[in-house]
């Protein structure tokens, strides 16, 4: 089977940190030839953890290694005329250029879309910024934390709490907002690439990571458009179980003797089967728990009854018994559980890559398998700083 879906597609990744490199990483996984262009001091992500022993090292950042595997790497000082010229030459032969200013803005170095497209009219130039190049916040600075909160996600993340003023909204762990910006960029870029194949036409694509995050909540925006109030964060004000969140009759978390299990026997038939998993408890026929509405109304008492039972079992045991009865339930896994999960192992989800400095590590692979193409997920480790300068830039390096 041929390697990848995008053979011969040439990408220059000028991004730093997460959103731009994430977009380029997706293209690399799909088989494009990605050259990562770093300033001489290296991508900012090289300073971001995790590191072995928590000791920062530019070639051992877990974040950098994950975001930049399967790319080649060169260093260019775009403020120097010679290096800017070298970049211009590379861009003349590229299909796609990706940036996520700041700190590196191609426009700021006289290498913006208008300038590059003269030599390469079919170029696709993808620019990712926190708020895009439009609107009152276009020059505002934002991080993952800021975007997660501004876009409405943090408000729903925690679930309703007893005292909203002492339990503020929280972001999700990791760098989700920046990954969403990167995924939006990869989606739009691949659509533009398809148009280029059909028509020869290039594009400049502007991505707002804030809008990408907001677009993850279009159901909530539609509720707002219909005049519905925002879901309350105050537990006392929650009346109905929201889709997505798990409250009361929709589902929730049960304590086990080794962690937690997440269950959601939300349909009546699922609830009946769940009761069998529990061995047919006597309280099941009580009118407080007999219907979904009643279960929602009496959910605190109900969860107490379920917890009294679950705490005597392990999370994997309950998940297995539940799934045998076709009840939606899963163990609440840690990353340690994940790395030894038999299902993920069977699907060969994790991929092993040997890096000359960081060593052998198992990286999460892709969520998709193609019947007619093999994805080059382990083509090469993330580049050392300037590793491919000689190969790509030749004697000028």
């Amino acid at each position: 089977m041929p390697d990848g879906l995008l053979p011969g597609v040439k990408v220059l990744d000028v991004g730093q940190g997460i959103s731009g490199p994430c977009c380029a990483k997706i293209l690399a996984q799909m088989g494009a030839e990605v050259i990562k262009v770093e300033p001489p001091e290296g991508d900012l992500a090289r300073q971001m953890g995790p590191f072995p022993g928590d000791i920062p090292h530019p070639e051992k950042s877990g974040l950098f290694l994950a975001m930049n595997a399967n790319k080649q790497g060169i260093t260019l000082d775009l403020s120097s005329p010679g290096d800017a010229e070298a970049f211009r030459n590379l861009a003349a032969g590229a299909d796609i250029v990706i940036e996520n200013p700041p700190p590196v803005s191609l426009e700021g170095h006289g290498l913006g879309y208008e300038s590059l497209k003269n030599a390469n009219p079919g170029l696709i130039f993808t620019s990712i910024t926190p708020f895009g190049n439009r609107g009152p916040y276009k020059d505002f600075k934002a991080t993952d934390l800021v975007l997660y909160h501004m876009s409405g996600h943090a408000h729903g993340m925690l679930g309703p709490v007893k005292d909203p003023d002492s339990d503020p909204p929280i972001r999700a762990g990791g760098h989700q907002a920046e990954l969403v910006g990167g995924m939006a960029a990869a989606t739009a870029t691949l659509m533009a690439l398809y148009r280029k194949r059909m028509t020869g036409q290039g594009s400049r694509i502007d991505i707002s990571s804030f809008e990408a995050m907001v677009t993850q909540l279009i159901s909530g925006l539609a509720n707002s458009a219909y005049g519905r109030p925002a879901p309350p964060r105050d537990l006392a004000k929650v009346e109905e179980a929201a889709i997505g969140g798990m409250v009361g009759a929709i589902g929730g978390i049960l304590p086990c003797n080794d962690g937690y299990v997440a269950i959601s026997p939300r349909e009546d038939a699922q609830w009946e089967r769940w009761l069998q998993v529990m061995g047919g408890p006597t309280w099941a026929t009580d009118e407080r728990y007999a219907t979904r509405d009643a279960r929602q109304k009496n959910s605190p008492a109900l969860w107490k009854l379920l917890s009294d039972w679950s705490v005597n079992h392990s999370k994997h045991e309950i998940a297995r018994m539940g799934q045998e009865q076709r009840v939606p339930c899963f163990p609440v896994n840690t990353v340690q559980d994940l790395l030894s999960d038999e299902h993920l192992a069977d699907r060969e989800f994790f991929v092993e890559i040997d890096h000359p400095v960081a060593g052998v590590l198992r990286y999460p692979g892709a969520a998709y398998r193609f019947s007619n193409s093999h994805l080059p997920l382990t083509a090469r480790p993330a580049p050392l700083l300037g590793q491919h300068n000689r190969e790509i830039l030749g004697s000028s390096a």
């Binding site: 799909m30 072995p52 439009r134 505002f140 036409q201 993850q216 539609a222 889709i243 990353v335």
Partner: protein, 390 residues
């Protein structure tokens, strides 16, 4: 010449609820003709609320009972004239309906068939019954979110929208490959793996340091100050993230605490991280005197990354979205004009995204069955009568 990127592509959409419809919404808005197939026999659960109006913008909607032999034959006729087919039933369901990849491929050899399910279409747990909210727990995604030493968090609508966008990306990649090679694809997509793939840091941290990463609320491993700070009003907060020393000095000047900026104890991120509780209290003493949006304006003017923590209604009214043209006014099926969401990208110099109101079931039956498949009206009427087009 100047068309939307997916002009000329037809997508047959057998998906439902959130993830699949989200993917086809992106494809439709970017120029593909998306034909959503549904049946009154088993309606799309998201039909019940306003969410349907967002998830199904820009699509055509035909009714078809594919559990009947004639319905199955019709869907194969539609596959024959489509470029992409997408489904997100539980693993094995589409095969039991008689629409596995082999059947689909014999109707259209170069079809791109996307099959998305909770845990994917192979492996010992492929038949596990899944919801997105549960997968967020199974995949470790929720394990790094929340407050330390508390129960796992139960909120967050994340899995389905995230997968929806990724499915659109995968479709675009497969279309590129088909344009190059002429070949189609079957795509086995696992929602669970999409979530686990988005948390590489704790997965690598575990291998590097034999440590299971604990949730840390709004805090960060390296940066400080980093959190949300109480503003004027109940449950009002401004998020502030100081990512370098210059931002720290600007923040101290703004909150009139130059003494903190001058203190060598807080001069670098490590020092600020160690003393973050103390610094958080100093910042709160300033934020509590300001409205959240006002605090953002002052902080941003000083060059400090910041923004209010908002509920969805405040997001809906965000000046940034309003002025950037994110919403489009559309007439929904009840006849009212409403502002509905758009796309997070702009392709400059070309036409804007194709955004129309969501259809109702069967609205495009005449186009799909008479125009596209060329069935006589009398035949369509009979199939409506027989609850095949239903």
């Amino acid at each position: 010449m100047n068309e939307l990127p997916l002009h000329g592509i037809r997508v047959l959409d057998l998906s439902w609820i959130i993830a699949g419809p989200t993917a086809t919404r992106f494809l439709a808005s970017m120029g593909a003709e998306v034909i959503k197939i549904g049946s009154a026999r088993r309606p799309d659960p998201s039909t019940r609320g306003p969410a349907f109006q967002a998830y199904n913008q820009s699509k055509l909607y035909a009714s078809l009972n594919i559990s009947t032999p004639e319905g199955l034959a019709l869907v194969k006729s539609l596959i024959a004239v489509s470029d992409v087919m997408i489904e997100n039933f539980a693993a094995g369901v589409i095969e039991r309906l008689g629409l596995g990849y082999d059947e689909v491929r014999s109707a259209r050899p170069d079809i791109i068939m996307l099959a998305s399910s909770g845990t994917g279409h192979s492996g010992p747990h492929k038949d596990y019954v899944a919801y997105g909210s549960l997968l967020q727990h199974y995949t470790g995604w929720n394990s790094i979110s929340g407050y330390p030493d508390r129960e796992p968090v139960t909120g967050g609508l994340w899995a389905d929208p995230w997968v929806g966008m990724e499915l659109a990306m995968v479709t675009a990649a497969a279309l590129n490959n088909r344009a190059l090679t002429g070949q189609g694809q079957y795509v086995d997509f696992s929602m669970a793996e999409a979530l686990s793939a988005s948390i590489p840091e704790p997965i690598l941290d575990y291998q590097m340091n034999s440590r299971v990463k604990a949730p840390m609320g709004n805090r960060d491993d390296w940066y400080a100050p980093h959190g949300v700070y109480h503003c004027v009003g109940a449950d009002r907060w401004v998020a502030i993230a100081v990512t370098n020393d210059a931002e720290w000095v600007s923040l101290c000047q703004l909150i009139q605490r130059s003494d903190l900026a001058a203190d060598p104890m807080y001069a670098d991120a490590a020092g600020r991280h160690e003393h973050r509780d103390h610094l958080d209290a100093a910042i709160t003493a300033w934020t509590i005197q300001h409205e959240d949006h006002e605090a953002m304006q002052l902080l941003q003017r000083a060059g400090v990354p910041s923004g209010p923590s908002q509920d969805i209604l405040r997001v809906f009214n965000e000046p940034q979205l309003r002025e950037a043209g994110y919403f489009t006014e559309l007439q929904t099926s009840d006849g009212e004009l409403r502002d509905l969401p758009g796309l997070p990208w702009r392709l400059e110099g070309g036409p804007g995204p194709y955004l129309t109101e969501a259809p109702v079931l069967g609205q495009h039956n005449a186009y799909v069955y008479q125009e596209l498949l060329g069935l006589p009206e009398t035949e369509v009427d009979r199939m409506i009568e027989d609850q095949i087009i239903y």
